[in-house]
Symmetry: C2
């Protein structure tokens, strides 16, 4: 791994002080901001995440706030998911597409009230797309990035830790819903969500000054739970089939290719910009789709570019994420595979920078 040159452009977060004190070893950059990727080691972090509880600085999930009379209409223009049933207090995973149905982001939308949303974004400047649209259409809506930095509490002991800090009522927060909980005289949005399959919460910390006090409170309250600073774990998220925008999908892909067709209500999502393009895709099956793929042999290197998937001498897809899984004792991977070769058990050859390996297509992810 190479070094990263520090600059203001790679923004620090309200929790950076805590992250550094916990001995962060590596970062990625996400939405022009530092996202920790390794503390002890990717494997040690992985085992800890599955057994205890971690506090994650996911400030990089910047918010795009929509506020005003046209907020709801604009929100529906952005996504093919039908939002008519979305009530305040709900969080929806929403593919965001352009006029061609190409993915621009895959955020979680948080409906704060009838005319106010936060869109908790993946790695692209979604703010620019939303501002461009609202300007071009002269809509009555304010679109901006508020001072909100999410802190995720993930792992099997997340409920226990959160109860100690926010009280018993935290247990009442259902999956992909949120409640308001006080911290230092302020109400914080807390949702049951997060970028792992281990369960937990995301605290939308509104106001950077609350960052380190909250971080320290959680660390102190969870000492006997073996709480640690953590981060989204490359192995665990591939095992669980959690896609990563920019890695597993780009503007070149439709939601259907990404296996996100169940979030596309192309018949009823009236107003969605990419609806016409996706109506066609939803009728005809996509010709390629994301699949779980195992790769034989020793641990593969980090997947820093697409690795071609070959059937004989013909390319039929590519791998976009890969890691060695200690729990499943194989290399787990995410790839895009052509229809002709996507059936369960199909054997292909993957061309990694370190040579060819045997790859097997699966139907379901590992957990």
């Amino acid at each position: 791994m190479a070094l990263i040159s520090p600059s203001r452009r790679l923004r620090r977060t309200p929790f950076s002080e805590g992250v550094e004190a916990a001995g962060v070893k590596a970062y990625t950059i996400y939405n022009h901001m530092l996202l920790p990727t390794v503390f002890e080691s990717i494997e040690a972090d992985y085992h800890h995440l599955k057994n205890h509880v971690q506090v994650w600085d996911v400030s990089v999930e910047r918010q795009v706030e929509l506020r005003g009379p046209d907020a709801g209409r604009l929100m529906q223009m952005l996504t093919p998911r039908d939002l008519r049933g979305m009530l305040p207090g709900r969080c929806y995973y929403v593919p965001i597409v352009d006029e061609t149905g190409g993915m621009l982001n895959d955020p979680v939308a948080v409906k704060l009230s009838e005319d106010r949303y936060w869109i908790s974004i993946a790695d692209s400047d979604l703010l620019f797309w939303v501002k461009g649209l609202s300007n071009g259409l002269r809509m009555e809506v304010i679109v901006e990035e508020p001072d909100v930095s999410p802190l995720a509490i993930q792992g099997p002991k997340a409920d226990e830790l959160m109860e100690r800090v926010f009280g018993e009522s935290i247990h009442n927060v259902r999956f992909f819903r949120f409640g308001l909980f006080p911290f230092e005289d302020q109400e914080l949005v807390i949702a049951r969500s997060g970028y792992s399959k281990q369960g937990g919460f995301e605290i939308y910390v509104e106001g950077g000054h609350l960052g380190m006090p909250l971080w320290n409170t959680l660390m102190e309250a969870g000492e006997d739970l073996n709480v640690r600073a953590g981060c989204p774990n490359a192995i665990e998220r591939i095992e669980g089939g959690l896609l990563s925008y920019g890695n597993d999908m780009t503007r070149a892909n439709t939601p259907h290719e990404c296996g996100l067709g169940r979030f596309c209500d192309v018949q009823t999502a009236i107003g969605c910009i990419g609806r016409d393009a996706l109506l066609r895709v939803a009728t005809d099956e996509p010709s390629r789709q994301i699949r779980p793929i195992s790769i034989a042999g020793d641990p593969v290197p980090g997947c820093d570019r697409v690795w071609p998937l070959m059937a004989a001498s013909k390319q039929v897809g590519h791998i976009t994420s890969a890691a060695w899984s200690p729990d499943f004792d194989t290399n787990v991977a995410i790839g895009m595979v052509r229809m002709s070769h996507w059936d369960e058990g199909t054997t292909l050859t993957v061309v990694t920078p370190e040579g060819e390996r045997t790859a097997t297509v699966h139907e379901t992810f590992w957990i």
Copy 2:
């Protein structure tokens, strides 16, 4: 410095192979892509740049292509600079602003023909803003990111090297203009421009397959000129007052605050979205502005966050970029300073993470 975790999301470039072979030591991330920052050392790279010639992988300057009948009208909507005099063959530095006059990017626009532009962008997804606007306004224009990766040739021997590869007519290319030059049966746009004050060119390499052949051709042709792989140099660009979007300016700033008022023709740039907001700014002087600032004492650490500038106990600005300059034997910096304290020679106190220092405001940059 921490390590950077590799992933496909941090895109490699058509020149990555050459960059790695040259022994790159550190990167930054820029437009979701790897940008080298150090080869030998920042100081050694700096001296080499000022005395010889370097080949820079600046693929991160992604292009936003506007093509179609409305391309010119859309281009003028994006910027307060009057583009009526811009002929095909010209490159214009164009601040891009939103409806409030806030900076969204500070790219170079390249006019390829009457209805076709490339916008060579700084670090933000300008594509999203432009696509959002053109969609909202239903304009007749295609907006996309083409397969174009700029390669910069910078340094006092740049003309000599370029002549060897592209012929004598390269000398006829004037500053911020471009010509078409053949390479391997393809015509490449080559402009006299670049992110240094040492002179040189930017080759808009259209088609990733041409990347390494061109890289190798330049390296071989310049062997006796001491050509090396290089990159934008933090010291040299601060000495020369070359601003960096995300570091020295953000959406929070107007072009006028950034000293870019000369690129804002608010009386005549009809159609520019931020024009109304900037008309006010252009009439009333901005209350703060970017200034060159020297910092006394030993070399300062990397500026990874804003450093407050204090007059007595009152904050009157902040530093956004800083580096030790061997040639000027002082720390050179770029900062935003309030009108009350921006006069030449004003002495302030800068609060760095390693303690307070004396800072002096200047009128002009070092070269």
